[in-house]
């Protein structure tokens, strides 16, 4: 059998930064796994876009729990990107999120992205996002609408290869 699950790139922020970019992602893997350890300085929603596409080609369905109630929401025809609720990011503790991109380079299909994210002080959530493009994902931009992700936040992209 073939060992897989390789780190492609990682970024650790040395100062607050509103945008994190991974570019020149090759099509040499089958799936991507994108892991965040993150914190924010000011509260704001986070979005993720692909290949620089700023058109309304993104939609997201989410499942959330805040310690007392569950909820489900959807954003469709969104140009900001795949949606990430602001309650899933804290200004006091580092939080974790894992995104799964299955068949990110298949040019016959739109791209579906699964996520799990936790902010232990406020909310737990899962989302499924859609990017209505058949292009292979070659760049990922994560952006926060406020002052950005805090210093010390890390973003790591892995590739796994099915054979």
């Amino acid at each position: 059998m073939t060992a897989t699950y390789e780190k492609i790139a990682t970024t650790t922020l040395g100062s607050a930064q509103s945008t994190v970019n991974f570019t020149s992602i090759t099509a040499s893997y089958t799936d991507l796994i994108f892991i965040w350890s993150y914190k924010q300085d000011t509260d704001s929603t986070v979005y993720m876009r692909f290949n620089g596409d700023t058109n309304a080609n993104y939609s997201t369905t989410g499942l959330f729990g805040d310690g007392s109630t569950t909820s489900s929401q959807r954003l469709s025809n969104n140009s900001n990107g795949i949606w990430f609720r602001s309650e899933l990011i804290s200004s006091s503790n580092f939080n974790s999120a894992i995104y799964q991109f299955n068949n990110y380079s298949n040019t016959n299909i739109f791209k579906t992205v699964l996520s799990r994210a936790n902010n232990a002080g406020e909310m737990v959530g899962a989302t499924v996002g859609l990017w209505r493009s058949t292009s292979a994902i070659s760049s990922i931009e994560v952006w926060q609408g406020g002052t950005g992700f805090s210093s010390g936040s890390t973003f790591t992209l892995y590739g796994i290869k099915a054979e």
């Binding site: 059998m1 073939t2 060992a3 897989t4 699950y5 089958t30 799936d31 939609s59 997201t60 369905t61 989410g62 499942l63 569950t70 909820s71 489900s72 929401q73 959807r74 469709s76 025809n77 799964q100 299955n102 068949n103 298949n106 016959n108 299909i109 739109f110 579906t112 992205v113 699964l114 799990r116 899962a126 989302t127 499924v128 996002g129 859609l130 209505r132 058949t134 796994i160 290869k161 099915a162 054979e163």
Partner: protein
């Protein structure tokens, strides 16, 4: 419609093993397939992960069941937490044993992602517990669900997994089996 049988991906590569290894992968070709199966799964790993991107050939814009059998048997029961973009539901079943929801043919170019973990799959002293996270967003509709399933038919090691939909699995459906080693 013929089922597709997965074959072991490759022989030992000669490279150092990591802890996450590709065992076998099936991509459904033109015309679709009634099922995708992995047989002769070795017991040399500690856990299994199955990474799926799938679609059902059923006509219309609906969401369909994505089903898994173990060693030729259906699972024993399942619990789920389900969201549709407006509400959340929880439930259980001993008859509908789907492990995910995938889109039907009417959702052009849209596939559902399902990631399934089977822990300690080769331990013959335990019933097997399966968990999954899966979902589809179709820009205006969609479903997302966590599943926990129990396989209590016997405590045999899992050597065979088979996947199917309510109708057939559509072209470009891909199901990849990975093994994760313990210490």
């Amino acid at each position: 419609m013929s089922p597709i049988l997965g074959t072991l991906a490759s022989q030992f590569s000669g490279k150092p093993f990591g802890s996450f290894e590709s065992i076998a992968t099936v991509t459904v070709g033109a015309g679709g397939s009634s099922s995708v199966s992995f047989t002769s799964i070795p017991s040399t790993y500690t856990h299994l992960q199955i990474r799926c991107l799938a679609k059902d050939t059923t006509a219309g814009s609906t969401f369909q069941n994505f089903k898994m059998t173990i060693n030729g048997n259906t699972m024993t029961r399942r619990h789920f937490l389900f969201a549709d973009g407006a509400s959340v539901a929880a439930g259980s079943s001993t008859t509908n044993l789907a492990i995910g929801n995938i889109p039907a043919a009417g959702f052009t170019s849209i596939f559902g992602a399902v990631i399934i973990d089977i822990l300690d799959y080769a331990n013959t002293n335990k019933n097997k517990t399966i968990r999954s996270l899966g979902g589809t967003d179709a820009n205006g509709s969609g479903e997302l669900a966590f599943y926990s399933a129990l396989y209590a038919v016997n405590t045999n090691a899992i050597t065979n997994l088979s996947f199917s939909a309510d109708s057939n699995l559509a072209q470009y459906t891909q199901i990849a089996l990975y093994g994760i080693k313990g210490a």
